[in-house]
Symmetry: C2
Subunit: 356 residues, 2 copies
């Protein structure tokens, strides 16, 4: 089922994300897109202009023995059916995030992959984001001491974009769209059970789905994390704000502007000078004395052993474990369900985490 030594891929759902994958695949070199399928025939025409055969039906894709991999980039509500049918037809599957709209749906997909003995991998591509990998490096190397607080925010001011992302039936909303990335990054980095969780969903734009959310997660190892997504933030807070026992780190945005400020153990302790703060004085909240801290650059990011597509090829060849493991994806889907419930009930949730 390979072509010129390359793994053959059909992209199902040839919208913005589908065509982005076509570009990623071209850049990678180990795969080749041999066609696309989209229920919108206009997208079929675009596909042909782009040089990719437009299949006339999904059945046609499944019955084509030349197709080795089905890549799913459709709205979220149809991921499961498309994936289960592809796996049953003997295809490997790459699926966009969020993989499904519920834990149960994803379990069905995992079972189908197991039964068909085919590879199913979810494109949690933000495990490869440099901003995240810098924080992961700080976490692992103790750059600012033991990290005990992580704040991971993504702020925009454009509301919810696109069409189906406004609709609950299609799995719209920002928790499923961006939340899935931020939660995935956290559980990939922190190897500890989440013991409690509270959340708040935002519906300020009047959509039927959340236009943002915040969740506070407490890990068993003592770390607390805030995960926040907003689409009504005309001024943004930093992408990452992390506190360790020896300092604080910040990454402002994807341009990687940021810094770390750590305690200067070499300096003699000098009391800070009280400052006028509004109608009062404060020494507590005054800047530390000049010699008390050291400002430094962000460390180099942690390096993933391979790219998403290189890893997928290695998994197909049986030479590597998936970097994105389905058990982790399942754990994140469960977290999302719990965050929805915590937001709806206003309760603090406990004893829910699928941490193994």
């Amino acid at each position: 089922m390979q072509k010129d030594g390359k793994h053959t891929v059909v992209i199902v759902g040839y919208g913005g994300m589908g065509s982005y994958h076509a570009k990623l695949i071209k850049d990678n070199g180990k795969f080749e897109v041999i066609g696309t399928y989209d229920t919108d025939t206009a997208r079929g025409a675009v596909s042909e202009q782009d040089g990719y055969r437009a299949y006339g039906s999904y059945d046609e894709v499944l019955s084509d023995g030349a197709v080795e991999i089905v890549l799913i980039a459709t709205p979220n509500d149809v991921h499961k059916d498309i994936a289960v049918r592809a796996l049953a037809a003997g295809k490997h599957v790459i699926c966009e995030k969020p993989v499904t709209m519920s834990v149960d749906e994803f379990k069905e997909m995992m079972a189908a992959a197991q039964q068909a003995q085919r590879v199913l991998m979810v494109h949690q591509n933000r495990r490869w984001d440099d901003d995240f990998l810098i924080i992961k490096q700080m976490y692992e190397q103790g750059t600012i001491g033991d990290i005990f607080r992580i704040e991971s925010r993504v702020h925009g001011a454009n509301g919810i974009p696109g069409d189906w992302r406004h609709l609950e039936a299609h799995g719209g909303g920002m928790l499923l769209d961006w939340g899935v990335h931020l939660l995935d990054q956290l559980i990939f980095m922190i190897d500890s059970k989440i013991t409690s969780l509270s959340s708040r969903l935002s519906f300020i734009l009047g959509d039927e789905v959340d236009d943002g959310f915040e969740a506070v997660l407490q890990f068993e190892n003592g770390i607390s994390a805030l995960v926040e997504v907003g689409t009504t933030n005309f001024i943004t807070l930093p992408r990452w704000y992390v506190k360790g026992t020896e300092g604080t780190g910040v990454i402002e945005d994807w341009s990687m502007t940021g810094r770390i400020v750590t305690r200067n153990h070499g300096a003699e302790r000098v009391e800070p000078t009280p400052i006028q703060a509004g109608a009062g004085l404060t020494k507590t909240m005054a800047p530390p004395s000049e010699t008390a801290t050291i400002t430094g650059a962000l460390p180099e990011p942690y390096r993933q052993p391979s790219s998403f597509y290189d890893n997928f090829a290695a998994v197909l060849a049986g030479t590597a474990e998936p970097i994105v493991k389905n058990e982790e994806v399942l754990r994140v889907m469960n977290l999302i369900e719990v965050i929805f419930e915590a937001g709806r009930t206003g309760e603090t949730m406990k004893d829910f985490d699928l941490y193994a």
Copy 2:
């Protein structure tokens, strides 16, 4: 009991805060400090150097008919006894914050004031902070539309300062020290019941009292507020971050650096251009198109009708209501107790607010 037409004050507890009050009183002009009392005789010597008689005992203060007002600036655990005795002796009382360590203690103080028909006012001076008053103005005037989210943070990196503030028995810790201000500002600004609350206390420095905390408050009118105090933040997040239906406002620090960014209704809608963000593209989180928003300066602050001391004088004269009402102080003390409990239990608290 006046002297040269001025109200006479004895300051009990002549430490940093006590001597700061002496300066405030001198600047005000309607009051005169006629002495101090401190259990530390070294502070008595400083008082005399500063030109203020050092009373030899608290009984001596109480039995001195020339004393009209007792100002309490001691550690928190002795506020109540000093106040109750002063009121019983016919003195008016100004008390530093936090007024007491519990709701019950403050109820005793309020009852003593009621019985003695004397004025008891708590020095919640941060109702006069310009940064807060700018936010209050934005809240009242709809500068960024209807405000639905308020984040009020005070970040320092000096740990807990001083001596008794490290000790639980004296009412140390940051929730009682700074939290009381931030909560007081919120309830002074937002006239709505708090329907739920969750919190997390920080003990990262190994003190027996909290070295910081965060609390999330949900108001009945739809506003959610985050209140956060940290003493291990080597990089600070903005003092105020507020979101409204028409924009976002930020005040970085007490220097009043800040701005508001609002939706530009005059401009035609232009879709934002997707940006590369880590390993993916995003249109949702791309900056709004250039014409989509307007950046402006912070508004002028709301103006309090009078200063704390002018208001106190007017209340003594019976010509004004207190700006800091004891019912509000009681509500904040109750909030603090609930935040301690929420932090200890990890539960979301409901049905607790003393909002009348």
